[in-house]
């Protein structure tokens, strides 16, 4: 009962929020004496101050947000000899967290603290069952620690390597490959093996794991370098581990052991202080962990901490909650029933670009305003608003601990990508970048992965990747590619399918034949108007798929099926389609429909072409009006489209093309959950996280062959076939 008292106090506080007081200028400093064997600082400070009525937590290590989960992480024991110390720290910190709230709640005259505390307290209440469980288990944990552990037991589960260069001695690093860097130390040249996971997690793509950043960190910033293996942790050691004994896990383990051996050998050979090192080898690893391996002897603490961390990281937000997603990629709020994800984006124009960062932010705001109402959850009740803020806006709006990592996106000259039609990627936007494309890239930053087929349909058949020598059909061929309109596949298709589209088109001023057709009462005029509003098959199939088609003229006298439709599909099958397309043109001074026989046949094995034809036929059968004006017309300038009816018809001498949404949301259910739950392996995003592990690996790799999910890509997204 005694152990419940703090929680009762917290509960009492929650329900008596009339006012709070925390004295201005009060400063609490807590030192944790973590007895690291390595070179980590001896003291860890968490400073709590009250500034302008706000409670500010300042953990001094890696700017880690103040969360109970983070406090728990600093107390993992290394060996039996250290267990008492770690347990003491643990208890200290636990009591600290609780007392902090007790103090804030009992001293309640400052109303400015209310909002700040309210959020924390609500979160603490939800977590209290874990505290409670721990406190209940504390004595059991002590007796559960098992037999004495040998000192320096090799790690069974390394997940992260940290290298810290103090800068006290000269060192330089040559080019690094995936796992090797040539390093020159004062003691002579060395090879350092570095490990990094595949870039399967796009939310971390701006993080440390690139050669350049590795070198920057070590050489210039003298910062810690972190190389993580989220895959290993997720698949081999987590509660949802598939099997620690699988060939994949065993293989990785062998590599880790080798790497660690080499690192240790290197470090031992160097004069003291050349490199500060810390090898954090713990499943939930972070820099605050006690620095030697866990073994089964401390499994109950480990499990407990893991459970707490996972629950706090992965739990869904209740209305009023907020959190920085693990890794800090974005900040999530749920101010009401809806969600809000904030990205911290710094747009930096390159030399010669006139557009400023502010102008790009304004463009992005306009774009997101057209899209945000259509990021809907599968239940249709909640919505996700994606906010793209500048670092200055984030600094203005955020509290410490809720600041997402800054992502820099260069604004590149229009000529940057040549004339390829490419407008941007996650790190580079052209000033003219289109809205669906920008959304696609922002969703990468929110953790979604590519779902398009990288088969390079535009390449010569059988063309090989210039480096790997593998066919483009193979490269990234393990990726699951949906037929559902996904914004991570065909961004325009998804953007247009999820939103109601209305386009008001008008004839060019000098085009009398166009006007005569629009206003004509003859049946032929009515048909041509239908054809005008129809999507062209080239537009639907895509440029490179059409290169596998032939187009021939159909005589006017030939029998005509479905004469009121712009496209008559005659036959469609696996990788083939035959259709008649009624193209609009001129015959003398009259507008005329030209009948074209279109036959498409994909080369055998060209999966991208086969898929594009299949999805194209699905879209054509819906008979959705074109999202663009027919080339013989132009967009009516200066008109308010909302004043026109939601129907495809001629109004005021203009052709209105309207299509209602054909899919319920711009992001599929599992994509939505991935954003609001993060990368948690069992965090509620269905199979998405597992499917995404296969997004960037070759089709012929062992992993793809043995572990690729037996799911369709649509199932990965959580949508029906």
């Amino acid at each position: 009962m005694k152990s419940l008292i703090p929680f009762l106090v917290v509960l009492a506080c929650l329900f008596s929020f009339s006012s709070f007081a925390v004295d201005e200028g009060i400063r609490l400093q807590w030192n944790c004496d973590v007895r690291n064997r390595g070179d980590m600082p001896k003291k860890k400070n968490i400073t709590v101050t009250v500034e302008n009525g706000r409670v500010v937590y300042r953990p001094d290590i890696f700017s880690m947000p103040f969360r109970p989960a983070n406090i728990f992480r600093i107390v993992k024991p290394r060996t039996n000899a250290e267990i008492p110390n770690c347990l003491r720290n643990f208890t200290q910190q636990l009591n600290y967290a609780i007392n902090l709230h007790q103090r804030d709640c009992t001293d309640r005259t400052n109303p400015l603290c209310r909002e700040e505390l309210e959020g924390h307290l609500k979160a603490e209440i939800r977590r209290s069952k874990f505290y409670q469980k721990y406190r209940t288990d504390l004595s059991a944990v002590e007796s559960d620690l098992g037999p004495a552990l040998p000192e320096s037991t090799p790690s069974p589960r390394p997940t992260r390597v940290l290298i810290r260069n103090t800068g006290s001695k000269s060192s330089s690093f040559g080019p690094a490959t995936a796992d090797t860097a040539q390093a020159s130390f004062s003691s002579g040249p060395r090879t350092v093996r570095l490990e990094r996971g595949r870039n399967t997690d796009n939310s971390a793509m701006s993080s440390d794991a690139t050669e350049r950043r590795i070198q920057d960190y070590i050489l210039d910033n003298h910062e810690a370098l972190a190389v993580e293996y989220p895959d290993y942790r997720r698949r081999c050691t987590g509660n949802s581990a598939i099997n620690e004994g699988t060939p994949w896990c065993r293989g990785k383990k062998t590599r880790f052991d080798r790497m660690l051996g080499q690192l240790n050998e290197l470090f031992d050979a160097l004069p003291d202080g050349t490199i500060n090192r810390s090898l954090s080898l713990i499943g939930t690893g972070d820099a605050l962990s006690c620095l030697l391996p866990q073994t089964s002897g401390v499994a109950s603490i480990e499990d407990l901490i893991r459970t707490i961390n996972r629950r706090t990281d992965c739990e869904s937000l209740e209305p009023g909650d907020e959190k920085l997603v693990p890794g800090g990629a974005h900040f999530l709020r749920r101010p009401d029933g809806n969600y809000e994800a904030t990205l911290n984006i710094n747009f930096v124009p390159l030399a010669g670009v006139e557009m400023t960062g502010e102008q790009m932010h304004a463009k992005v705001r306009d774009c997101m305003a057209t899209a945000n109402p259509f990021f809907k959850a599968s239940d249709g009740r909640s919505n996700l608003n994606i906010l793209i803020k500048s670092p200055a806006e984030v600094a203005r709006d955020s509290r410490p601990g809720s600041t997402p990592t800054v992502r820099t996106i260069s604004i590149v000259p229009e000529t940057h990508f040549g004339t390829s039609g490419v407008s941007g990627n996650t790190a580079e936007f052209r000033p003219s970048f289109d809205c669906p494309g920008m959304i696609h890239e922002f969703l990468h930053h929110l953790g979604l992965h590519d779902e398009y087929h990288e088969s390079r349909d535009g390449s010569q058949p059988g063309q090989l990747h210039p480096v790997t020598g593998r066919s483009y059909q193979i490269e990234n061929g393990c990726r699951l590619t949906p037929t559902y309109p996904s914004v991570m596949d065909a961004s325009f298709r998804a953007y247009n399918s999820a939103r109601p589209n209305k386009r008001v088109c008008e004839c060019r001023p000098t085009d009398a034949s166009c006007r005569n057709t629009l206003l004509g009462s003859a049946p032929e005029d009515a048909r041509i108007r239908q054809y005008m509003a129809t999507q062209s098959p080239g537009e639907v199939f895509g440029l490179f798929t059409t290169s596998h088609c032939t187009v021939t003229d159909v005589p006017d006298s030939a029998p005509m099926n479905e004469p009121d439709r712009g496209i008559n599909i005659q036959e469609a099958g696996q990788g083939m389609v035959r259709l008649e397309w009624r193209s609009i043109g001129y015959s003398g001074n009259k507008m005329k429909a030209f009948r074209k026989q279109v036959n498409c046949q994909c080369p055998a094995g060209n999966e991208n072409c086969i898929r594009k034809l299949a999805t194209g036929v699905i879209d054509l059968r819906k008979n959705t009006p074109s999202y663009d004006c027919n080339p013989v017309m132009q967009v009516a300038a200066g008109v308010d489209a909302s004043a026109y009816p939601d129907a495809t018809q001629v109004v005021d001498g203009r052709l209105v093309q309207y299509s209602p949404p054909t899919i319920p949301s711009m992001i599929a259910p599992n994509q939505f959950d991935r954003i609001i739950r993060g990368a948690c392996p069992d965090g509620g995003s269905g199979t998405y996280n597992y499917c995404r592990e296969f997004a960037n690996i070759p089709k012929d790799s062992a992993k793809c062959l043995s572990m690729r999910p037996g799911l369709t890509a649509n199932q990965c997204l959580g949508v029906n076939e």
Binding site: G418, T419, S420, G458, Q460, G462, Q463, H465, P466, T546
Partner: protein, 192 residues
């Protein structure tokens, strides 16, 4: 087939040089490759992206009609560079690496591939290869097998063994979008 052929060719003909300029985007792999041998040369292109000094609208395999003195100099230069890359690769292999592994990811970049070795834009050799590539383009090439578009893009000729086999109507509104076209497996073809 291009690159398959390139690799096959490379293995059979150690003394020839192959210089390819390639860019992969999510949509396509754009490539032009020169095959430089002692007594002959040919050139394959599926895009006019890299055309210099102006865009041309013929695609397929071209043969060199006239080997002048600059050809010999280019040939020697390419051979020397290829040798240099091969030696670097040999050395790196003794360290458990390879030249191309060290080059790293090339996705969505314009790169040169010389005798199978990839050179990225941040390499000091990129500019040198770019000059060589431009010099090769200025030589006198003739379409042997492929397609050649009319200036107005209303028709396209199919060429086989340097002879026009058939002239076809080209439906631009179907095969082209936003100034880019694709036809019979060739593309992107840039109109401007």
């Amino acid at each position: 087939m291009n690159t398959l052929f390139i690799l096959l060719f490379l293995s059979l003909s150690a003394h020839s040089s192959i210089l390819q300029k390639v860019r992969s985007t999510p949509e396509a792999s754009e490539s032009q490759a020169f095959f430089v041998e002692k007594d002959s040369a040919h050139y394959q292109k599926n895009t006019n992206l890299f055309d210099q000094p102006r865009r041309d609208f013929a695609f397929g395999t071209f043969v060199l009609k006239n080997r002048n003195s600059s050809y010999a100099s280019i040939q020697a230069h390419l051979k020397a560079l290829g040798e240099q890359f091969r030696n670097s690769d040999k050395f790196l292999k003794t360290k458990g690496m390879s030249f191309n592994e060290l080059s790293g990811e090339v996705r969505h970049l314009t790169v040169f591939v010389i005798d199978g070795f990839t050179v990225k834009p941040d390499s000091k050799y990129f500019g040198e290869l770019d000059k060589l590539f431009a010099q090769l383009q200025t030589l006198e090439w003739k379409l042997r097998d492929g397609y050649s578009f009319s200036k107005d893009f209303l028709s396209v000729e199919k060429v086989e063994k340097e002879k026009v086999l058939v002239k076809e109507t080209f439906t631009e509104s179907f095969f082209c979008q936003k100034g880019m076209c694709a036809y019979r497996g060739y593309g992107p073809i840039y109109r401007n």
